[in-house]
């Protein structure tokens, strides 16, 4: 059995204002896995994600990457695009920050845009796009560095249900095509069951993982998956575990 891509051991985090966000968090993500962090709002899921990304430092515990820090990409709840830059320049940003010229980056940027189906919108500005399209640009920007680990913080929470379902399916296809590990923060039981190979249930603050539910190996899933026993069982288990976690608080 190979080593996990990321492991968090005994991670603790208390904010300067005294809020205890994480308490002894234990989590390991294997290569190619799609893990959802599911829990109530404000339970420290986002903090865990930010610690993995290196945007926040843990007070105690260790964060280990197998074979050094992998290429990490982050997708926020809002599309977080630069409103003054067009679609191309927004997706180009990570490569630009790494010192690539526009010409050298062109193929990678176009490739990422093709993956999210926005190759025709390179010169559009974020204001001219719908919420779902903005989120696609945001995903393309994350993909442009060919990350091995994709961190997503409730990326589809603000979208309507039909758009969210479509993006969920597309995300699974992308994950399979690009061979990424994904850590996906959500507070939706259904979303986590549809997307994940594994669901980690968080307790309310201070967050720790109270239960882990294995769904099924990932791969492209269709809407059909929502009617399978695997999905329904995962939904039931996750909802029940979440309920217990809330009561236990």
């Amino acid at each position: 059995m190979s080593a996990p891509l990321v492991s968090l051991n005994g991670i603790q985090k208390t904010f300067a204002n005294g809020t205890r966000a994480l308490d002894h968090l234990e989590l390991a993500i294997m290569r190619g896995e799609f893990v959802s962090l599911l829990g109530p709002s404000g339970c420290g899921k986002s903090t865990a994600l930010r610690i993995i990304a290196g945007l926040e430092q843990a007070d105690a515990g260790t964060l280990t990457f197998d074979g050094g820090r992998p290429e990490i990409a982050f997708v926020f709840q809002d599309a977080t695009l630069m409103p003054w830059a067009n679609v191309f320049d927004n997706v180009f940003l990570p490569l630009r920050l790494k010192g690539l010229s526009r010409q050298d980056a062109n193929a990678s940027v176009m490739d990422a845009l093709v993956h999210v189906g926005l190759a025709d919108f390179v010169t559009s500005y974020p204001r001219e796009l719908s919420g779902g399209m903005k989120m696609r640009v945001s995903i393309a920007r994350a993909l442009v560095t060919k990350p091995t680990l994709l961190l997503m913080d409730e990326p589809f929470a603000a979208l309507d249900e039909i758009t969210r379902h479509r993006l969920n399916r597309d995300l699974l296809t992308l994950q399979a095509d690009l061979d990424m590990s994904v850590i996906f923060v959500t507070h939706s039981v259904y979303e986590s069951a549809f997307l994940s190979s594994r669901i980690a249930i968080f307790s309310p603050r201070p967050g720790r993982i109270v239960e882990t539910i294995t769904v099924a190996p990932t791969g492209a899933r269709t809407e059909e998956f929502r009617r399978t026993p695997t999905y329904l069982e995962a939904c039931g288990k996750a909802a029940h575990a979440l309920e217990l976690a809330m009561v236990g608080a």
Binding site: R50, T80, M82, W84, L97, Y125
Partner: protein, 257 residues
């Protein structure tokens, strides 16, 4: 649309017409209140004198605005980088801003020659709105975008160039529009305080001079030129604002889209 545009013009023309009528019907002498038609002919007759003064005032206004833009943006960027610098220097900028320029002008005239003193006054009033607005803009960047820049290891210079300056652009342009009007006011106020005659005499000096000579129509003509200059500056900056923000910023969005 057209009605909305024509209405202010119609009101303006009606006011001028009423003014003209009152002056003629009441036979008010021109040294008390000149009619608009007389002001207009004075403007044409004295054009050589007035246009030279207009050029002087506009040159000082433009130079002051350019200097205020350069230094305002420079200091705003420095303040955003080093908080201690902001804490130590910002109060000084506030003191300069809240002290009326007309009260500072005589003092500056003691130390500087008239032309430089007028420029300094116009600069001082234009500097603060650009500094404070740009500083506000630089610190109003989206925190998620800041995280994104950190994630990809952006250098300090990349943060400024690719994130902070573009985020601050709408704020800066807002400050610039205020500063454009203020630099003209500063120049005029300082010219009146300086009272410089001869070659380098600006429009404000022409007003003072014409007042001494009871040449009231010329006073009005110079005043009209100052107003037109102010409107032109405002329109130019408004246009620049639209041209730079139209594709992305809410403030420049076309109505009814």
């Amino acid at each position: 649309m057209t009605a909305a545009r024509l209405l202010p013009l119609a009101v303006f023309l009606a006011l001028l017409g009423a003014w003209e009528a009152v002056v003629h019907l009441q036979s008010i002498p021109p040294y008390i209140l000149p009619a608009p038609s007389l002001i207009f002919t004075t403007l044409i007759d004295d054009w050589r004198l007035l246009s030279a003064s207009l050029a002087v005032t506009l040159r000082i206004t433009a130079l002051a605005l350019a200097l205020a833009t350069g230094f305002g943006v420079l200091f705003a960027v420095l303040f955003a980088q080093w908080r201690w610098l902001e804490r130590s220097l910002f109060p000084l900028a506030v003191i300069l801003q809240v002290t009326p320029i007309i009260a500072i002008a005589p003092l500056l005239l003691v130390y500087l020659d008239a032309g430089t003193a007028v420029l300094a006054c116009a600069f001082l009033v234009a500097f603060f709105p650009i500094l404070s607005n740009t500083a506000l803009g630089l610190s109003s960047t989206d925190h998620n975008l800041r995280d994104l820049f950190d994630l990809y290891g952006a250098s300090r210079w990349q943060q400024i160039k690719l994130l902070r300056l573009p985020s601050a652009l709408p704020y800066f342009l807002g400050g610039l529009r205020i500063a454009g009007g203020l630099s003209l006011i500063g120049a005029i106020a300082a010219e009146i305080a300086a009272g410089a005659a001869g070659q380098g005499a600006g429009l404000a000096y022409r007003i003072v001079e014409a007042g001494y000579r009871l040449n009231i129509p010329r006073m009005f003509a110079a005043l009209a030129l100052i107003s037109i200059a102010g409107i032109a500056i405002w329109l130019a900056l408004e246009w620049a604002n639209r041209a730079m923000l139209s594709r992305w910023h809410e403030s420049a969005r076309e109505r009814g889209l």
